[in-house]
Symmetry: C2
Subunit: 444 residues, 2 copies
């Protein structure tokens, strides 16, 4: 399969993927003169969902596209009849012309890491809140869950096959986020074409059920034979429609011992994998792989680590963030005309001011902490510690900067970063974030 | 705000919102002669997530659109180079020409209720699996959660404001599903325009934080005054940016006792609502409403039922299905050339054959059970019981039938159906499905 851009849907305005209050605030700001104040909005999380140890940034590249496409059509403006003419005129010529900095896609993050920093006038920045958060919350939720699954699979490939369990377009970007996090392939064709992700898939239970004799009795062999005729012996046959042992026997009879794989999609997968491996080996099919699926998540994958499973297929849990379907990121005003600002109600403390961050590492490469400092200050002195700049320029004067990482590069980057976590950071159990985020250089 | 269709994005093919295995099965079926077998696929759930008592069907109208738009462009076909020429030729002229029956949008459902029944050739039905399930799983998850929130709110309006917590297009359809389930309004402008849902929203904390004096000190009064100038005294002011009691005082000073509402978005909402109600009443603002938001779900809404809260704003929990982000619906082959078929592995038993369903009611209107029977059989004799046909025609020969319910009609329908549940069905606690689905007329 080629990876082209040809199936990308027509470009369309992202401007109404917006909460109404952003436009009512805009109108009031244009009226009272605050629209032109130079501000900073920041995307960050207050905590990691489900007491996870780390999060994975995803969606940044999609955010930059969405900001570029955030322009109002004449039809959209005509519909915005709750706004005054001045506001509609402003929106008619709206283009974001500000600056965006942030963490790379595939970067690790922790509570209060400044993931994205959007600078410009209040008017141009406030309207981007919803679309930026929608993208980053959805993509980071999937990537954060998927990275744990990749760790649990311990080098064995995982195929993303969860499209059917989430919104039809969320499925496409979930595939992307899972791939970013280290999944090997996707079932989703739109994702394959749009993002160049390897596509995977052979057959469903329906295929076996379709093959009945004239009297309605099952004919699993006919289904297998037809599949092998079309897709070759390297295909994967689904063996659990009727009886698994019979299914495996039939599969090897039909395809021979060069059969690529068998898939098991139900039952006690560990027990079945052992039985099927023994049966395959006894039949001489030593190279036939065992693919398992059926409501797997990071915990069940880890539980299968000692079993003869070659490939995992993961659906529901990855596209729904495995218990955390949103990353819980917020977009908060942190600076106005050079003054740090922050909400002061209890339980929602924020740190005011525009920020950058670095991460320090021991000589062994193990990460120590994140240090957050004022954007226009010198990088803090970290002595002899290896120090990684986490904040990079993403957009300048409304244009995406050149040379941003590709999806493949971000995927490699994350793999490299995961290795830097202290060992307890890769544990699946609930605990505190594995790295602390320390603030320095801010007023007390 | 007008409700027009003008902001609907350009129609686009849904054909690649598809798992690869559907097309490899298609190729093999075209090769082995099974492509033309007359089949039935059925959408159903094996269980209700989180031991809920009932589910709500949503997405049906979107499914019918997606089926109509399931056509392959020349560019898409060129990309499908893993398929042989015969299969690509088939797809080039693909139009679904079959029959779809199913439950109405807004209908209640239970495990094994036959929610959607798709009939046609194997070739034309198999390729629709992913897009149908994506839509129904996403929309039904949101509607099922939202209906519980509406029950918990006990007549008080709920505004959907969760767009930022889910994929940017999932947000739009989540707004639709929440409205279907009885929410009153949405923050999402695309949903407002696309589906005619009332839009709602005034201001965020950023608005208050933007209004600082030249020395950087807060000026909440300036923010409130500007908002009231633009949106009128009927607006809702967000009073918890700094100190809530001071915020309420300032709000009434600025807007007068005709202020429409105040919003509290943090803290112990029950305690704060009581304090704020007393303060508003003491200030003479008896008609100023109290809007609360801040990670509400059906349980926290129920906990606030005794408090002086007038309007609820719900975000994350509704768009993520409140702990059940997917409805877990499956699309299974149940009949081939008149023969019922079903997978036989343990724990995934299905009922073969094409089905219809009715629901019986006592003379009081309370629902008793669902009865599922073979599609071509007579409706079962339910004696004197009031009996509702649950299965209605949705598509005939590839065309949506005339007169299907509008979103408003489906919303009213659900409200009427919820009243028919036995009282325990509306409880929020975990338990069995409140109605049983009984199968009659099928071979044992």
């Amino acid at each position: 399969m080629k990876s082209t851009a040809s199936s990308i849907p027509p470009e369309r305005s992202t401007a109404l993927l917006t909460d109404k209050y952003e436009l009512t605030m805009l109108q009031a700001a244009l009226a009272d003169g605050t629209a032109d104040r130079q501000v900073t909005f920041e995307v960050f999380s207050r905590r990691l969902p489900n007491e996870r140890r780390y999060g994975v940034v995803a969606g940044t590249a999609r955010v930059l596209h969405a900001v570029k496409d955030f322009t109002f059509t004449a039809e959209q403006l005509a519909d915005l009849d709750f706004l005054d003419q001045r506001t509609r005129d402003f929106l008619a010529s709206y283009r974001f012309t500000g600056q965006i900095d942030g963490y790379r896609e595939g970067e690790l993050y922790f509570p209060h890491s400044p993931l994205l920093t959007v600078r410009g006038t209040f008017a141009e920045c406030v309207v981007l809140e919803t679309v930026i958060l929608s993208i980053m919350n959805a993509d980071s939720a999937v990537a954060s869950a998927a990275a744990r699954m990749v760790t649990a699979a311990d080098g064995r490939p995982i195929i993303e096959m969860g499209s059917r369990r989430t919104h039809e377009y969320a499925a496409v970007t979930a595939s992307r986020a899972a791939y970013l996090a280290g999944f090997s392939a996707t079932s989703n064709l739109e994702a394959a074409f749009r993002y160049g992700i390897p596509a995977s898939g052979t057959s469903a239970h329906a295929w076996t059920l379709l093959h009945i004799n004239e009297d309605g009795t099952p004919n699993e062999a006919a289904a297998f034979r037809s599949q092998v005729d079309q897709l070759g012996a390297e295909t994967t046959l689904l063996v659990d429609t009727y009886d698994i042992a019979r299914g495996v026997e039939t599969a090897i009879e039909v395809a021979g011992t060069d059969l690529g794989g068998v898939r098991i999609d139900s039952g006690d997968l560990g027990v079945l994998a052992r039985q099927v491996r023994k049966q395959l080996d006894d039949l001489g099919a030593h190279n036939t792989k065992i693919v398992v699926s059926s409501d797997l998540d990071e915990f069940t994958i880890a539980g299968l680590r000692g079993e003869p499973v070659d490939v995992f297929g993961v659906g529901t849990s990855v596209v729904t963030g495995s218990g955390a379907p949103t990353a819980g990121l917020v977009y908060k005003l942190v600076e106005v005309d050079g003054h740090p600002v922050a909400k002061r109600s209890r339980n929602k403390a924020s740190h005011g001011g525009t920020k950058k961050a670095v991460r320090t590492h021991r000589s062994t490469g193990t990460a120590i902490e994140e240090i957050v400092y004022p954007y226009h200050s010198e990088r803090p002195d970290t002595g002899k510690l290896a120090t990684l700049d986490l904040t990079i320029p993403l957009m300048r004067d409304g244009q995406a900067v050149d040379g941003l990482p590709t999806l493949e590069q971000s995927r490699s980057y994350l793999a490299d970063q995961l290795v830097t976590l202290p060992w307890e950071g890769l544990a699946l159990s609930r605990d505190e974030p594995v790295l602390h985020t320390r603030f320095t250089g801010f007023p007390a």
